[in-house]
């Protein structure tokens, strides 16, 4: 996958000679590339494999829209000429005649991005940057900027989910850890059942709960808190994503917290209070610091899982709930822009490795416990 994210050879196998000649073009001296480039392009379009050219076109369109129609029109003209056995004397004039865009240097500059076998363009695209004519990195046009925003949103949602999980999970883990085993084992089922249930089932369940005519809105209307047409839209937006993801990831927070709290001796709190600390003080200074390993383990686990989440945001999130995972899936499945898919994936993977390493440092990866 990493190879795919920098791989740009697809197009090189189609236009090898053109690119060879292209490299000789001195951009300072001539405004347009020399005759040889035009000639090589002519020949490669005339005799090249049609399917291969088609694939290359898709790639070319990523760097500048308009390539596809340009090449298609030109190759039609070329094919006609070849059929009639009229090879032009001047390839440059012929191509420019076939389509005046060949006299437009911006297209030639755009081709410059593709000359090399490797490219970083997909990585720059993944953070809304692109190349200009001189191969400098610039901002993408306004209406094509989506990824930076999505990255930030993914980050925001993950942080929120982690914080919510911590707030909700901490007291529950504390209760479970301090109850006698008989009761806590029973209550543990409440935590483990969602953990074992299919992700899709839970996501569906949340759609049922949160939709306009759903359970929660129904109860609120019935209680008279909401009027019948004042139902809140809770699903297919960010609220829905947050609620559903918090519930889905909560067990991952509770379980590590629980296993840490279980071994904290109860006598510590009593000793602190004996020495004159108020309960709040004793909790803050004695109990809380001892739970930090659990909190960081749970927090990291939830955060890492949340940042790569895809199914729930895609189903519950609606149009503006899309996270980075959805874009990866979209490019992999729909636009088939695999270079960009791989680049987005690689960046996400990079993030993940950092957190994985952190997790390993703090808790040790072999300390993961299930159920």
């Amino acid at each position: 996958m990493l190879l795919r994210s920098v791989d740009d050879s697809q197009i090189n196998t189609v236009f090898p000679n053109t690119f060879e000649e292209y490299k000789k073009w001195d951009k300072e001296k001539d405004e347009l590339p020399p005759e040889e480039v035009y000639r090589a392009l002519f020949e490669e379009l005339a005799y090249g494999d049609k399917i291969q050219v088609g694939r290359a076109l898709t790639r070319m369109n990523y760097s500048k829209s308009g390539w596809k129609s340009l090449i298609k029109k030109t190759s039609r003209a070329i094919k006609k000429a070849v059929k009639k056995d009229e090879l032009p004397d001047n390839y440059k004039d012929f191509l420019i005649e076939a389509n005046e865009k060949w006299a437009d240097p911006t297209y030639w500059y755009a081709m410059g991005q593709m000359v090399n076998n490797q490219t970083s363009i997909y990585y720059w695209n993944a953070i809304d940057r692109t190349f200009d004519q001189e191969l400098n990195v610039v901002q993408q046009e306004e209406d094509r900027r989506v990824y930076v925003q999505t990255w930030l949103k993914t980050l925001k949602v993950s942080i929120y989910v982690t914080v919510f999980c911590l707030i909700l999970g901490f007291p529950v883990a504390h209760l479970l850890a301090n109850l006698p085993l008989r009761y806590s084992n029973l209550l543990m089922i409440f935590v483990l059942l969602p953990f074992w249930t299919s992700l899709l089932v839970r996501t569906t369940a949340w759609i049922v709960m949160l939709q306009q005519k759903g359970v929660i809105n129904g109860v609120l209307v019935w209680l008279g808190i909401l009027s019948d047409d004042g139902r809140i839209a809770m699903v297919y937006n960010e609220t829905g994503t947050l609620i559903a993801m918090t519930q889905i990831l909560l067990p991952f927070m509770i379980l590590p917290l629980y296993s840490v709290m279980r071994v904290i001796p109860k006598s510590h709190m009593r000793a602190a209070q004996n020495l004159g600390a108020k309960p709040a003080m004793a909790f803050w200074r004695v109990y809380l610091p001892q739970t930090i390993p659990g909190m960081s383990a749970g927090g990291l686990l939830v955060f890492v899982l949340a940042i790569g989440y895809f199914i729930t945001p895609e189903l519950v999130g609606g149009k503006d709930g899309k996270l980075i995972g959805s874009w990866i899936a979209y490019h992999l499945k729909t636009t088939l822009n695999w270079g960009l898919t791989a680049a987005l994936g690689a960046i996400l993977l990079g993030f993940m490795l950092i957190f994985y390493w952190l997790y390993n440092k703090i808790v040790g990866i072999d300390n993961i416990k299930l159920g």
């Binding site: 059942l193 074992w196 895809f310």
Partner: protein, 298 residues
């Protein structure tokens, strides 16, 4: 941890507020799962509680097994509605899910057990490195694993085949087996292996006669984890499977996106029941294992 008798009123308030908060969180965790069960028995083709269902005394007209019959492929007129076509896809998905799940679980269990045995040897070189590589499919987002596998399998022509899907699921499920079996091996007395070998048992015989009976609970719960992982997996199936490899999660995904129908809830109810069964089995096994090893139950 009850309140001491000398607790002040403020402490009491705090304590009850705390209990209430925990109750709310427990409710938050299970309520959605419970809410879908009654709706799956509804007559209405929408996923809502109808008036008839909430009426008291209950209105028998409002309840039916209609969607369950639809799910198992019954296409009679009273089962199909204008928004919910009859389909045989659910049953096909169930068969495929079990087929893929069982084979993947078997392979993952064998591989995972072997890996765990090797990793618990004291002299294993690069233990930490191997462990983190083995565990990584659990931590790396599924979408990345799926994309990577898709590119890789496309090159060796495994995309859109059962083999491809099963192999991918094996890769995902193996870490769960490794973790559970490693946990069981913690209390395992390696001297027993030596004893068996000194009495003349070959390594295979030692494994089947001595090691396996002792770590069996760990292996089984690992296998159950592996099964649920494969059974519940949707992202990889979405990319790597064609219509021939339709599984329950894929059909549910398609169902939620296209025609939201109570049939999904019927399947969801079945899956909740399945997960309760699996959860109970794992819990019982865990307790048994701890009792056998003489570790006090947590």
């Amino acid at each position: 941890m009850a309140l001491p008798t000398y607790a002040t009123p403020i402490q009491r308030t705090y304590y009850y507020a705390y209990l209430f908060f925990c109750a709310v969180v427990f409710f938050f965790l299970v309520a959605p799962l419970i809410a879908i069960v009654p709706i799956s028995f509804s007559v209405s083709p929408f996923m809502v509680f109808t008036e008839g269902m909430l009426a008291w005394p209950p209105d028998p007209e409002a309840w039916s097994l209609r969607w369950y019959r639809n799910m198992i492929g019954d296409c009679s007129a009273e089962v199909v509605s204008s928004t919910v076509p009859c389909s045989t896809k659910w049953m096909k998905g169930t068969v495929n899910s079990f087929y893929i799940g069982i084979i993947a679980t078997f392979i993952a269990t064998v591989l995972g057990t072997m890996a765990a045995l090797g990793l618990s040897r004291p002299h294993m070189p690069y233990k930490a490195l191997i462990m983190s590589i083995l565990i990584s499919p659990m931590i790396v987002p599924l979408i990345i694993t799926a994309a990577g596998m898709f590119f890789f399998y496309a090159r060796i022509n495994l995309v859109y085949t059962f083999t491809g899907v099963i192999l991918a699921h094996v890769a995902l499920a193996t870490p769960f087996v490794v973790i559970t079996v490693t946990a069981t091996l913690v209390g395992f007395d390696m001297n027993m292996v030596k004893a068996a070998q000194s009495l003349g048992a070959k390594p295979m015989r030692t494994f089947f006669k001595v090691i396996m009976p002792l770590i069996l609970p760990g292996i089984i719960s690992g296998a159950l984890f592996a099964f649920i992982t494969s059974f519940d997996e949707v992202v990889i199936v979405m990319f790597m499977a064609s219509i021939d490899q339709l599984t329950i999660p894929k059909q549910m995904w398609a169902g939620i996106r296209q025609e939201i129908s109570p049939v999904i809830l019927c399947m969801a109810t079945c899956l909740v029941i399945l997960s309760i069964v699996l959860l109970t089995t794992v819990e019982l096994l865990r307790r048994r294992a701890e009792r056998l090893r003489g570790i006090k139950a947590r």
